[in-house]
Point group: C2
């Protein structure tokens, strides 16, 4: 009986430890998005959470381990907030649009205190070789490829013109959301979300097959000036 | 005579001081582009330049003053490397294209060790209110507006369709260069420059008046797959 009680105690302790770890990471990810992953020292985190440095060291042996764990947490949040809802849409152009829409919405509701975590950490770490940089690059590439793959799937379904260069299309769609993130966080410019959407729809209109044009509306968006805030967007 | 000699000595001293200040800023701007403006402490700079901290304090009274001076230096470099050469082109679409081309070329030759200084510092400081953030935002907005103004000038010259929303166009052109900067610095992906150019030409083709289409070539670039590396780019 004592053995079973001990096992239960150990399990409880492990579960509690994991819960604390997740709470630490949740706080850390927001600090990192606003102040940078490099500014996220164990000391800084201990201050914010009113925990001891030695306690934090028990969870994360080094600053690099903490940074890697924070990126893992940010990935989990991104999947929950952007990928999962978008993947409820049917494959092809509907899902492609949903991915971009959910990504824009996540930027707009400031899921991370300092704007998109991945864009911020990419810019911060692109000149710092190492495991942290590699993980950020892998996850960023993976999202870009997910966008491209969905465009390719839309081609297979006959929704996008097979002559469309999907790598080019993904580059441009991805650029528009990143620009909205930049503009919103630097200028508090919410109009940037409409500008990104206008660009996205325009890119997709250019690439869709004639049968699908009805879905997206026919006119080129760049050629059209917004009608002085009369039309609801 | 002694008075004149004293004035000359003072002038020499001031000139020497200014030269040293410029050399310090030149080094600082590269450190900041790679490691962040916040990582640029007077101590870090003293180490890199083998100067005393007190000597550096003589030039820059505080970290914030140093950061503001570094941004001023970065602006000077951006003007010399991008704005000045682009402004040699004639007004309108030629200058608009030159601005984007020179900006891409500056990213491609890594004028700043860590990629475009302004994009890096915008992402770093967008969540840190204060003078530094305001200056970065002002300069970033000013460049975006310069792009838009040139597009508007191209409309006045009859080169761009007057129905084109120049704010939208500037947003999209700016997005493409920023994406190339992101992709090149994170993935060492030089193809990103071609992708940005393809997008830029495509946006301009969409907006040009029929008479100008010959200047840019007629086909939509997004619709065209690159012919498996046969064509020289």
């Amino acid at each position: 009986m004592k053995a079973i009680a001990d096992i239960r105690k150990q399990k409880d302790k492990a579960a509690k430890g994991e819960k604390t770890r997740q709470e630490i990471l949740e706080a850390a990810v927001h600090i990192a998005s606003a102040e940078g992953l490099e500014g996220l020292t164990i000391g800084r985190l201990a201050d914010e959470l009113h925990l001891s440095k030695s306690g934090l060291f028990g969870h994360f042996g080094s600053k690099e381990e903490l940074q890697l764990a924070v990126i893992g947490k940010a990935r989990e949040i991104f999947v929950r907030e952007v990928v999962d809802p978008a993947f409820q849409g049917e494959r092809g152009i509907v899902r492609l649009l949903a991915m971009l829409e959910e990504w824009l919405a996540y930027v707009g509701r400031s899921v991370f205190r300092g704007g998109c975590f991945f864009m911020a950490s990419a810019i911060e770490f692109d000149s710092r070789p190492g495991q942290v940089r590699d993980l950020i690059a892998d996850l960023s590439r993976s999202w870009l490829e997910t966008i491209e793959n969905e465009a390719r799937h839309a081609q297979i379904l006959g929704q996008l013109d097979t002559r469309t260069d999907t790598g080019q299309l993904a580059f441009e769609l991805h650029a528009l959301v990143q620009e909205a993130n930049w503009s919103y966080n630097l200028f508090q410019n919410r109009q940037a979300f409409d500008q990104a959407r206008t660009g996205i729809l325009d890119r997709l209109r250019q690439a869709t097959t004639p049968g699908l044009l009805r879905l997206l509306g026919k006119k080129s968006a760049v050629k059209k000036k917004p009608a002085k805030r009369k039309e609801p967007k």
